[in-house]
């Protein structure tokens, strides 16, 4: 069973008399453990796709099955609960809460678990997630005290803390320099290899897209190509970089 199955999904925005077809009918299956990168220029519809995949928005037409369950027409509350349990988000701008420690930031999704989770368990799970990203010693730091790469790692820890089946990364390297971008991409690759988590990453950079196992190009609301890919291993670029090794450990 695919983790994600889009069946002729359309998204149409009504703007006055015009209707804009952000997605013109997309069908797509993604299996567990794939690292799918979606590329496209701005306005291509990749963001809309991302929002629908992330259950932040509902398709106008078509069906979206997430882990076999049709989520196309669920009410907002149930979508929230699906986002909480099954999807981990990584954003371009990190979206960490300012003046809040890394540990508290990682805890945020757990605050909305249903039934509520005990404070001690929340703490333990947040630390566990930080541990897995080698951020234990940064747990009490505020975002402003962390580098961009570290901030994005905290954000990834937050995405992982509820043990989702899917990670949705929206331009995760957009705010990072190229060296740190590579670190983050290697990190995501490592995650997939070790835990078999499904990753969908949106980018407009071909270099970044090359880290995926499958590359989908989107243009004008349609999928124009969908090809398997041999992921780039950035090992050559990272030789003698202990920080990156640490991040992967």
């Amino acid at each position: 069973m695919p983790v994600i199955s889009l069946q002729n999904v359309k998204k149409i925005y009504e703007l006055g008399d015009n209707s804009v077809h952000a997605l013109g009918g997309v069908s797509l299956d993604i299996e567990a453990g794939e690292f799918v990168t979606i590329t496209g220029a701005s306005g291509s519809g990749k963001s809309t796709m991302m929002h629908i995949l992330g259950c932040l928005d509902r398709p106008t037409e078509g069906r979206y099955l997430l882990n076999g369950k049709d989520v196309s027409n669920l009410p907002k509350e149930e979508l929230a609960s699906i986002r909480n349990k099954q999807i981990g988000f990584v954003f371009q701008g990190f979206n960490l809460l300012p003046r809040t420690t890394a540990a508290e930031n990682v805890e945020v999704p757990l605050l909305y678990s249903r039934p509520p989770m005990a404070a001690s368990e929340r703490k333990a799970r947040a630390m566990e997630a930080l541990d897995s990203l080698a951020l234990t010693d940064r747990a009490e730091h505020h975002p402003s005290q962390l580098s961009g790469g570290q901030q994005q790692r905290v954000a990834i820890a937050r995405a992982l803390v509820n043990k989702p089946s899917l990670i949705l990364a929206d331009e995760p390297t957009g705010n990072l320099d190229s060296k740190t971008s590579i670190e983050v991409m290697r990190l995501l690759q490592g995650l997939r290899e070790r835990s078999g988590i499904t990753i969908i990453l949106i980018t407009h950079e071909a270099e970044i897209a090359a880290y995926g196992t499958r590359i989908i190009s989107v243009r004008d609301g349609f999928i124009v190509s969908d090809t398997p890919n041999t992921p780039v291993t950035a090992a050559l670029n990272l030789e003698g970089e202990p920080a990156a090794e640490g991040a992967l450990a």
């Binding site: 986002r83 909480n84 988000f89 509520p116």
Partner: protein, 509 residues
């Protein structure tokens, strides 16, 4: 419970992040609650003070005086009282006919130009003496003003034990007496002497003891030669500001030890020369009885537990004493029962207050202390409404401050709201977070305001001598108001936050 600690955790995290704004918004609530609690404390204090003052002035007091007399209203001609020729109650309004006599009131009604009499009317040199003079009534058992000996200690005991609603009873004998300081015989003072019991200070609630204290029950039982000086007497005999406790004063050539000085704490009666309370000395009634070889009482002073029952109880006392004295229905009382307003207007009520009372009431017949207290209460309530309005406005401003903070923070934290929604927060979670923040903020502000109000009222009391009283109820009201304010101020911002679209919110710059 878990859900709540949860919400609290989220809210306190968020509040901590915006310390300056949090503090400012909280201050708004603090000021409002502080004003509210303080004004309530002042209002309560004023109420208590009015009640105290009225009780202190004798609102719940009944005085039974031995003997009876009446005044013939024959154009300034005075004649001895003659109960045989009672004509009609309107022609002889002073007859205490099985009821409470209304001495002070009738004087005002029957005189063409009512005048207030400061103390005892015999003291007024301008007064036309339309009542029996001392020489008229000497030896006449029906010619009262306390000269007749119709009351006994047993009467007092029966009132004490058989009438419900009676609080304290003190029997008394009253004489005029010349006092001499034992150590300096040139210092003399002619004053009123009251033989009484140790309960008198609890009856005269307006008394304070600048020096020493009242004599004890044991001293009464032992017929001790002890004496409490009224303020005026103490000042005349020993000088102002001098503690006379322990000094010896000669009365009937007997040495009496001074054990205390009594002053007034009520604005309704201040010590003046010639008054009956403070230009007077008090000795145990038993001592007077044994030294003068007497057994009768001049007065019995009674207080009631509630001021409203005074008239009723006065009537009970009348019928009880008539029965005990074996007075048939046709005969007038051989005693006078005076209560409340008559007492007040007769003596002790300050001229200012008397003028207010007289100015406000068409006829003195309708005067009751409840009405007097009501009119003071009304003035006080006006003040209270004003204070409450000020407090209400400051609370409103505080509430607007909280709402402003929240609205600002909804805009400022749009991305945060978007993120929380993306990671699984529902609209209701976001709304409860903002409401919890506001309630937490307001409660904290409210508590702080209450604490400050306690200090403020304490200093008002200390510095300006205003009477205040912070009740538990007012604190509870303040805290509840603060919490309600928090909820009210946060509903709109919380709804706005909850209705944000997560996609738009996440892209918000």
């Amino acid at each position: 419970m878990n859900g709540f600690t949860h919400l609290f955790a989220i809210a306190s995290q968020a509040l901590k992040r915006n310390r300056v704004q949090t503090t400012l918004a909280m201050l708004g609530v603090t000021v409002g609650v502080c004003a509210l609690v303080t004004s309530m404390a002042l209002a309560k204090g004023a109420q208590e003070s009015i009640r105290e003052q009225l009780l202190a002035a004798g609102a719940n007091m009944i005085v039974v005086t031995a003997g009876n007399y009446q005044i013939q209203r024959a154009e300034g001609v005075s004649s001895p009282a003659d109960h045989g020729s009672v004509e009609s109650p309107s022609a002889n309004p002073f007859v205490a006919h099985g009821g409470v006599s209304r001495l002070g009131q009738t004087r005002l009604v029957s005189r063409p130009a009512p005048r207030f009499i400061k103390a005892h009317f015999e003291d007024d040199p301008m007064a036309i003496h339309d009542h029996p003079t001392a020489s008229d009534r000497l030896g006449d058992s029906m010619a009262g003003l306390g000269s007749a000996a119709t009351l006994t200690l047993e009467d007092a005991e029966t009132i004490r034990s058989s009438i419900q609603g009676v609080q304290f009873v003190a029997s008394g004998v009253h004489e005029n007496a010349r006092l001499t300081v034992a150590s300096d015989e040139t210092k003399q003072w002619f004053t009123r002497l009251h033989g009484t019991e140790s309960e008198l200070p609890v009856i005269r609630r307006g008394w304070t003891f600048p020096y020493g204290e009242f004599f004890s029950q044991r001293q009464v039982a032992n017929n001790d030669q002890v004496m409490v000086l009224g303020r005026v007497v103490a000042d005349r005999l020993f000088g102002q500001g001098i503690d006379p406790v322990g000094e010896k004063v000669l009365l009937w050539n007997q040495p009496f030890e001074v054990v205390g000085v009594v002053g007034s704490r009520s604005w309704a009666s201040q010590p003046v020369a010639g008054d009956d309370q403070f230009d007077a000395v008090y000795v145990p009634v038993s001592t007077v009885h044994s030294l003068l070889n007497l057994s009768k009482l001049n007065t019995i002073t009674v207080t009631t537990k509630s001021a409203g029952e005074t008239t009723n109880i006065a009537q009970l006392i009348v019928s009880l004493l008539r029965q005990r004295h074996g007075i048939s229905d046709q005969m007038p009382d051989d005693f006078i029962v005076k209560s409340q307003a008559q007492e007040l207007l007769g003596d002790g009520l300050s001229p200012e207050l008397a003028r207010i009372v007289a100015g406000n009431l068409a006829t003195m017949d309708t005067l009751t202390l409840e009405q007097l207290s009501e009119s003071l209460q009304r003035a006080n309530n006006t003040m209270l409404i004003l204070l409450a309005a000020v407090a209400g406005v400051s609370l409103l401003v505080g509430g607007i401050g909280v709402m402003n903070l929240l609205l600002l923070s909804v805009t400022e934290r749009t991305r945060e709201v978007g993120l929380r929604m993306a990671v699984g927060a529902r609209g209701s979670d976001i709304a409860s977070q903002f409401i919890t923040e506001a309630v937490f903020l307001s409660l904290l502000g409210g508590l702080l305001g209450t604490v400050i109000a306690v200090f403020v009222t304490m200093s008002l009391e200390g510095i300006f001598r205003w009477s205040t009283e912070i009740s538990i109820a007012s604190i509870v009201i303040a805290i509840i108001t603060a919490a309600v304010l928090g909820v009210a101020a946060s509903v709109y911002p919380a709804r706005r936050a909850a209705e944000l679209d997560p996609i738009g919110a996440l892209q918000h710059e």
